[in-house]
Subunit: 232 residues, 2 copies
Amino acid sequence: MSYQLYYWTGLQGRGEFVRLCLEDAGAEYADVARIEGDDAIMPFLSGDREGALPFAPPFLKSGRLVIAQVANILQYLGPRHGLVPEGESKRLHAHQLELTVTDFVAEVHDTHHPVSNELYYEDQRDEAKKRAKDFREHRIPKFLGYFEKSLERGGGRFPLREHSYVDLSLFQIMAGLEYAFPKALAKQKVPLLRDLAKRVADRPNIAAYLASERRVPFNTNGIFRHYPELDD
Amino acid sequence: MSYQLYYWTGLQGRGEFVRLCLEDAGAEYADVARIEGDDAIMPFLSGDREGALPFAPPFLKSGRLVIAQVANILQYLGPRHGLVPEGESKRLHAHQLELTVTDFVAEVHDTHHPVSNELYYEDQRDEAKKRAKDFREHRIPKFLGYFEKSLERGGGRFPLREHSYVDLSLFQIMAGLEYAFPKALAKQKVPLLRDLAKRVADRPNIAAYLASERRVPFNTNGIFRHYPELDD
């Protein structure tokens, strides 16, 4: 099965959660906008293509299916590539964790855009400083604490007792925080999460991907942005 | 099958999306915190109960399963109560729409809490005014336009060509906006959405629910809050 992934070029963004899943699975896929340019995304957003209408990228084409929303895509890919345990209860649990990752990612985004997506960061920096302070003091500990506890309950190594797409997303969160909020992250007591992130980075397909040019470096176009004044 | 729903008392909040689904289905359920008080929620959040750990309410207990995250709960309930069409493609589409509802609800919340959940609205009113302006001018049209277009593509009456849990959530969004942002809502050209919301309100189980005391009125503890200065 070959997939077509559609996501903006030049940043990791939300597309990266899907990419990590495809790469770990060793799935064949085309990263369409990187080949054809961002314009390839537009006809889907404007409704000129068949299939479910995406609100925004990333979306994945799999045969005739158009699947949008990161957690929805991962839920689709998981069982096809052995990236989620069997059974309804485990799959509901995996998806519940992934939706909490989604919530966290939205909050990360809003640290640098607390007022409007239509404005530059520089035009909402004062509000961003306030929001980032709250994010560092309350939200990072709350979310990472939750994931740490989920790991604990899963036996320490995997929140779902075996490898799954959730691990890949938790790795990305830890990598993103390390880039964007290194000082705040250093203060968190989350040994199980840190260990999980290392083990994911060492998985052969992920290690090869991270070393490749397909992994765009973190930068200040993405969701995880490093502005020193927001980490202080 | 009898369910136990756990959600904070005194507000509709995110729990309401689940309640609408249970009510429309005529499912037996106990709204546990309304019977036992909010304290009944705590042992689940602190990890003192079996099953998947919820990050936050609402969560649903169904037998031994603990299911959190609204879209995850609806995805679980949908097929059990004829509230989602058959087939993988339709179910992925339903869930994609529901996850976009989730994103919208988070943005509604942030219009009155753009800085921090730890602060009162009154302590972040200036930032709220800026964020709400952006929300009215850009986000409401973008999200409602997307749902309107999805309805159009579904034939005009249902985004999924037949009744589903997504309709119930879209009704709740229209009802919430009517309460919180009546002026901004009046400006939107979304005839299909308005018609859908009316038809949902007229469904016998929903009409009975809306007329009952189980439907807590909208208020300024919930997600949809009416502060006149944010709608001007």
